[in-house]
Symmetry: C2
Subunit: 456 residues, 2 copies
């Protein structure tokens, strides 16, 4: 059972009375019903590759893990609607492949696709690199099935495009982190397969220049722009140094880089490479970038994306860092990076910030690297907490979110409570208590419940 008791980042370890692995919704309902009767807390678990320990039990040894992994059925795509039913335990990469074999595409993708399951992706409202065009998981879910905390089945698997019958439980389950029910199946929207794509690598002098490039590209390429990722040169350096087979796409030096993907999925559209060349030429003439190159083959396109997808691994190899998955309004992110990074580096001498990721969504992964040669456990005990609190304080000052795509889980629950508007927290508590009155559904995750004092 050991692998399922520790979170993916290895920071939280719990114990569990049992790991239960049902093979269908009826069995999940049965298990939840028993737990409700005996007030046993349940930790739902998919691929166990979340970033905030949302699927790790506490250390009481009294909770049980309900693993959805055996529920991995994928139905064929409905040829008229493009919809597909699948069970919660389906691994994202398997879904990608099944959909591709039928000539279509499931557009949501992210680094953990080899382990992340549909149930986990729904429960964390996962994002990734194609959100700019296709939205987060919320946008791609047409139907949902869940077992609620009393063991009852909530079946909303019939996809209705319009349905105004009150509060949508679906929208609470999506991103609900298993705290008000266990998602057991979903109907997902597939999209037409790509006919062609053009991946571009662009050198820019600053996040602000990258942001103006984003505005230009969105105005001109509209939803043919599927990806817009930013990285500082120090992240590129880390990748080329630590990840074999990678090299810088441009031979000119730039402080910042942008990876853009322009796609064609409709025969009526112009060829991506042609459209991309025209746009890049115009962008360079307008002073929106310093230099750019187009991937000349699918292999090169993959190589560009590999750089982006290897940043986390390269940064891990380069040394310890604090990671923050943050968002601010899209039009404020460039300013956030430019103004806040030097403040942190001045306040904690030797620390280095690395801001990279989904600039088009106003969401970056904001790493703060430990000073070289520092004693890491001492750093974690001293500066680390203050740095993270400072980052989240600044995010709050920009009216942003301390969790753009990873969720709250256990890892962020204290900071979430500290920084959230009490009105927001109060409604979360009210909803949680209403839908899980026994408090057995993934307790201690997402919702900072009021401390129970002696007088209660």
């Amino acid at each position: 059972m050991a692998p399922w008791l520790t979170d993916w980042r290895g920071r939280f370890t719990g114990r569990a009375a049992a790991l239960v692995s049902p093979e269908n919704s009826a069995q999940v309902a049965h298990v939840v019903g028993i737990c409700a009767r005996h007030r046993i807390a349940i930790v739902p678990q998919g691929g166990n590759s979340g970033m905030v320990a949302g699927a790790t039990p506490d250390d009481s040894g009294e909770q049980i893990i309900v693993s959805l992994r055996r529920m991995n059925r994928i139905d064929p795509i409905d040829s008229e609607t493009g919809l597909l039913r699948c069970e919660a335990g389906v691994i994202l990469q398997n879904l990608h492949e099944a959909v591709a074999r039928q000539g279509r595409r499931f557009p949501l993708t992210l680094g953990g696709k080899g382990s992340a399951t549909i149930g986990g992706l729904v429960s964390t409202n996962a994002g990734g690199t194609q959100v700019l065009r296709h939205g987060t998981m919320r946008n791609l879910i047409a139907g949902i099935e869940a077992i609620l905390p009393d063991g009852s089945l909530y079946d909303a698997m019939i996809p209705l495009k319009k349905d105004n019958r009150g509060y949508e439980l679906k929208h609470l389950l999506i991103g609900g982190e298993g705290t008000i029910g266990i998602v057991t199946a979903a109907v997902v929207q597939t999209v037409p397969a790509l006919l062609d794509r053009c991946v571009m690598w662009v050198g820019v002098d600053s996040p602000v220049q990258a942001y103006h490039l984003l505005l230009f590209m969105q105005a001109r390429a509209r939803d043919r722009l599927e990806g817009f990722e930013i990285l500082p040169n120090r992240a590129l350096d880390a990748v080329t140094q630590h990840i074999p087979g990678t090299r810088a796409p441009l031979d000119t030096a730039h402080k910042w880089h942008v990876l853009m993907e322009l796609v064609q999925d409709d025969p009526a559209q112009s060829a991506p490479a042609e459209r991309a060349s025209d746009l890049l030429e115009e962008a360079i003439q307008s002073g929106l970038m310093e230099n750019a190159t187009l991937a000349s083959s699918e292999a090169q396109a993959d190589a560009f994306w590999k750089i982006r997808d290897s940043i986390a691994e390269a940064e891990r190899a380069a040394g310890p860092a604090l990671q923050h998955d943050i968002s601010v309004p899209v039009d404020a992110m460039a300013k956030f990076i430019e103004l806040e990074s030097p403040v942190i580096e001045r306040q904690w001498p030797g620390s280095l910030t690395v801001a990279f990721g989904h600039m088009g969504d106003g969401n970056i992964h904001f790493h703060v690297k430990a000073p070289p040669g520092v004693d890491v456990s001492q750093w974690h005990a001293s500066d680390a907490k203050a740095i993270t609190a400072h980052v989240y304080d600044r995010v709050a000052a920009y009216h942003g979110s301390l969790s753009a795509e990873h969720g709250i889980g256990q890892a962020k629950i204290a900071e979430f409570e500290r920084l959230s508007n009490p009105v927001r927290i109060a409604s979360l508590r009210a909803i949680k208590n209403a839908l899980d009155p026994l408090g057995i559904m993934n307790p201690g995750k997402l919702v900072p419940l009021a401390k129970v004092t002696m007088s209660d």
Copy 2:
């Protein structure tokens, strides 16, 4: 006060202790706070043009109406993001005009645009004729502000594209019919203005043929297809007979008609008329339609839409009818119309069905006209209720919704309770009671609360 005590369709009249018309959110909060302290029930009201009496007080005379009409400020569009802040009392048509003056478009539109307010449109998750491409109101809301039942301000007006901090209260307020708070402002997404459009009128032999035409058009025109509306010939006849200045677009006879709109909002796209001609030619050759014509001018395009938009008025002039705003899965709607209509007409001799509307969303307005010459009040007392119950029973058998876009309000609450899965009703009640524990927010609407029995 009289105009605000009766619903738009004139079927529900209530009384009220007062009508309060605050001019800003702080005043709304103040009023709600007072009501919470004194347990006074509140009926939020926008344009008072809803279809289900969701904004009409009960007949106790103890409720107060909180009218949002004076809160009608519209901020300028943010030039980078296309977002716009406006207050709840803004009338949709005024929003359309303000956005158009700034060179963009707010795409949601519907018959009641001259009276419907943003707050009401949010609270009912309004639909209309452009949902096929742009979605319902839910899809167009980037930020929301509301006063919750305890008088607290819920401010989620800063638009974050990605934010995974738990249950989204926004998604409960949208479509919540004012039962868990009063929406006071919103941030809406505007879209690029149309450069050109082509409106087509198509004759088909059946809803099934229309459905296959829909699939063809969506596969080929993708999201350039903005509207796909269906109507039977008897609805066209009613319009040309009762609405001055209208005439049938085709001189050939058809059992059913389809109105389609293909748009251009990107200079990179081909001209709509050209693209539409190509597609229609191919569709006729493939046997997907009987005949078709393209509007040759904006005036003619408006004339085609006027037919569609006049159906409700023409049908009212033609005689009494029961109206049902229903949805089923998109791929089942044609079958529903074809199989269910004759059953009703046989079972209630003399009655006639008229199914028209948003076929592309699986949502039609399903009218059942009273037999000619019948005593209307007697018909309402005898057959009407049974017919409506029958229609909703059949919708339920197709796993559809008895409210696709109008909401539940008072008008549908009993049928909603009768036909809904108890699990769904239980979660609605739990959420309602958790967020409005005093039960002062638009009581008697949307949520069928458990009957209080003597033993409670």
